[in-house]
Symmetry: C2
Subunit: 193 residues, 2 copies
Amino acid sequence: MSDKTLRADAERSVRAILEAAEHVLAVDPGASMEQIAAEAGVARTTIHRRFANRQALTDALATSAARQLIKAIDDGRPDTAPPLVAMHRITANVLEVKSAWAFALALPAEPDSEASLLQRDINDRCALTLRRAQNDGLIDEKADLDWVRRVYYALIGESLHGNAEGADSDTLAARIIDTLLHGAGPRPSRSAP
Amino acid sequence: MSDKTLRADAERSVRAILEAAEHVLAVDPGASMEQIAAEAGVARTTIHRRFANRQALTDALATSAARQLIKAIDDGRPDTAPPLVAMHRITANVLEVKSAWAFALALPAEPDSEASLLQRDINDRCALTLRRAQNDGLIDEKADLDWVRRVYYALIGESLHGNAEGADSDTLAARIIDTLLHGAGPRPSRSAP
DNA sequence: ACTAATTGCATCACCTGTGTTGCAGGTTTC
DNA sequence: GAAACCTGCAACACAGGTGATGCAATTAGT
């Protein structure tokens, strides 16, 4: 939770710490608080003042990232836009957030933590959007939606790994949706109805 | 490398240590040597006798796992069997190995290590098999084979995550190949040629 | 401007993991 | 069966991270 009204500079510190933690831990998950503090431009004791221990820090990190992910999904209007449009927009947004918070979002959710609640929320929204896509005929009616969702997640994750070329999110999103729906098999020559 | 002729009991120890390391580190990548030793039923000093430090241990772990993965691929006769058959067999074999050595195979390859050489070998064989599949018309001729390979890897990884139901490798492999080639979109009702 | 909050710094005690050594006793190998 | 090898155990030194504290200096809020 964002605690009681924190003073402006304190809030800046917390943000800096969370961002530093993401960057440092993404490279070395076993990095010390000292390293995180250095990256954040902050004294190690300041981290301990805000976060009692490593667990508290990673919890906050996971929660913060999950919140941003939810915002990214909501920005895609999953409930009102046509499924295909929503999926594309959501995918592009999620790619942005996930590339910025890769470590935080890969963090194993502590049971009963806020982050795990948010994760479930995210899964539900995703499942819902996929169901809408299925009702629209975009997804085969016999498909196992849970598997489809997992494949979707996997494609997003894989897109982030090898993106050294720096392709923009829209391009990546298009490829993800295309692969998710059509796979890699031969296409009927684009001539139909 | 498997060192000079190790005495039989010593070789047993090494195996036990590697397996213990896999199990323990898969749960907690930061686990101590002590924990690994306990799981292996061995004294901590014995680990240090065989592996100078943590790095040496994980290197050996990665190499050992990569070797088994290569064997799993070779057992699928990637060069002689029809591509679809080969892909299915290879996928099933790889699933077995990957589920047993998930941590070891997820290990970031040290540059110039033997494991990284093996990894490249694995990638090459995979790429080759995919090319054969493409030449056979299983994969669209315009498809980006590197992306296809990455998707394939991602599908394998995802299949391993949520396999609490304990589905057998053949079933999982079938789903992977099917999704890879056809995606989740609507299928033409099975009637034509 | 005054107050309260926040921070950096120096310092401390403490714990955990690491890597090494020596030796006695058990196991392989030939 | 003898030699060579391997292992467990105990002990040690050492490095490094952790969490806490007190204080002076800075900064935000009103």
